[in-house]
Symmetry: C2
Subunit: 297 residues, 2 copies
């Protein structure tokens, strides 16, 4: 079955009754699976993870937009997390039998529908209509409060909906992006400068791996440091490549890897690719993993 | 959901109409998934792979036994593969939320029911009732033709059913066993003696790894040799351990690993265990693999 993941973020993380009303849109829907949802009171924000057949997911997401824009009033919203709308962001990620290009289509479909509800919509990441709109932080800059002016600038004309801020619902950003892998490599040194130098060398902007973002971090309690990476296209920049490059750079400082961490969800193919590298497995297919036979068709 | 895998083997691989009648027992059954089936004309044998909820699988297997014993006449059977019955072997393998001990129960349940159909039944592998019956080759020795005498020996009294050969249906062997991983390591030497020595060192009977069986093989066309292994308990003898031990022994001969092969199905945990070793991943859980969220509950 064609499957997409969607991770909509709503600007409500305190009123659990409202959180329930929003998540309800993803329950007991055919071909839609609510994976997880985390309301955060400090951020006053709700992050929902849902996987399913694209049309079914799109319908559920649009239902949730209707509900959220009814019950959330952005003119009264406070919270630590940057936000610009009641439904703040809606990224689509390909899962099975689905391409990023198709996710761009879904983002456009959802964006258009939300625009027709009188809410300005911006497309970002792979769905962006200009290089300036690729980066969410750049799109969202100014936040809800700043958008009343920002939206009037010609270069910030929304991709869908009115060129006028929606007072109650704010604006919404919709994206298509590839699955992101959060991969941390812990080093047996407390010297942040070393982790920092390694991070700057392995990451794309420093001349390193094309789809790798990295920063150096201190792990004070452990007396270690960390190269914290986001691998934004595991098909082209594999986990093992990032790890081996960190190891190779660490040698220069006489530093070794203590251990690593994979945070959150990982597509099976990313695991298979790296296992196949280290074990020199020839011709292994992810369909050989028994559990793939148990996936609903 | 509790899930078991069953790989029944039937002594019919030529008459595809009969093959259909047997495999039909596994189709369109709730909570039973027919994974694959391979009729082999040379062996005159049918291997079926099915996964599902244990009671549903047991019911389907017993239905298939009824069908197979009706349409197969062992007194007329010819084929290259060793066999002793119309339904030759029925091994149960734990898949999800299921232990080997539970598979022993399923083997007993199925064995008892087949015994009541007037067919002698032997339990083997982890379901064996004596050490002598653990090994299938030992149980099946003499094959269908030889069993008319063998069955009369007190030490070969069947575990279920009559102590008398069933002329039409022969005898059936039922087992519980752990998932077996077929793992081959190819070496950059054409010298079979080297592959042979490595195989003898890494395998259990040679003083090597507890759950590793191994032989040396020649890959004539490639000018290489192979250490061909069966890992019979991947939780205790991991793939990476077998690979690293082969590599370590190969060094003695100045030989290196060209590549490796994983044949057939592999439980996700076996892949995760080895990937975690090579990548030093701390605390990774197989539930972090996205695809596990798509498995039917």
């Amino acid at each position: 079955m064609k499957r997409v993941m969607c991770i909509p973020n709503y600007s409500e993380g305190r009123d659990l009754e409202k959180v329930e009303k929003i998540t309800e849109c993803f329950r007991a829907k055919e071909n839609v699976k609510l994976i997880d949802y985390q309301p955060d009171a400090d951020h006053n924000r709700l992050v929902v993870e849902v996987i399913g057949e694209p049309e079914a997911v799109i319908a559920a997401v649009l239902e949730s937009v209707k509900v959220a824009t009814e019950i959330i009033d952005m003119s009264k919203h406070e919270g630590a997390h940057p936000r610009m709308g009641a439904v703040d962001v809606i990224p689509f990620v390909p899962v099975t039998e689905c391409t990023t290009e198709e996710c761009v289509e879904y983002a456009n479909k959802v964006g258009k529908a939300i625009g027709e509800m009188g809410i300005p919509v911006y497309l970002y990441e792979d769905a962006a209509t200009s290089p300036d709109r690729k980066n969410l932080a750049k799109v969202r800059k100014g936040q809800y409060e700043g958008f009343f002016d920002k939206i009037k600038e010609p270069e910030w004309k929304p991709d869908f909906g009115p060129q006028e801020m929606n007072v109650k619902s704010g604006a919404t950003a919709v994206a298509a992006r590839f699955h992101l892998i959060a991969f941390n490599v812990n080093l047996n040194t407390s010297d942040l400068a070393i982790a920092d130098k390694i991070a700057k060398t392995v990451r794309h902007i420093g001349g390193g791996l094309r789809f790798c973002k990295a920063i150096g971090l201190e792990l004070e309690e452990k007396g270690q440091t960390q190269v914290s990476m986001n691998l934004v296209n595991f098909e082209k920049t594999a986990i093992y490549q990032a790890l081996e490059m960190v190891k190779s750079e660490a040698k220069r400082y006489g530093v070794t890897v203590v251990n690593t961490e994979l945070i959150g969800l990982l597509p099976l193919q990313a695991l298979v690719d790296s296992a196949a590298y280290y074990m020199q497995i020839d011709g292994f297919k992810q369909e050989q993993v028994l559990e793939t036979l148990l996936i609903e068709e």
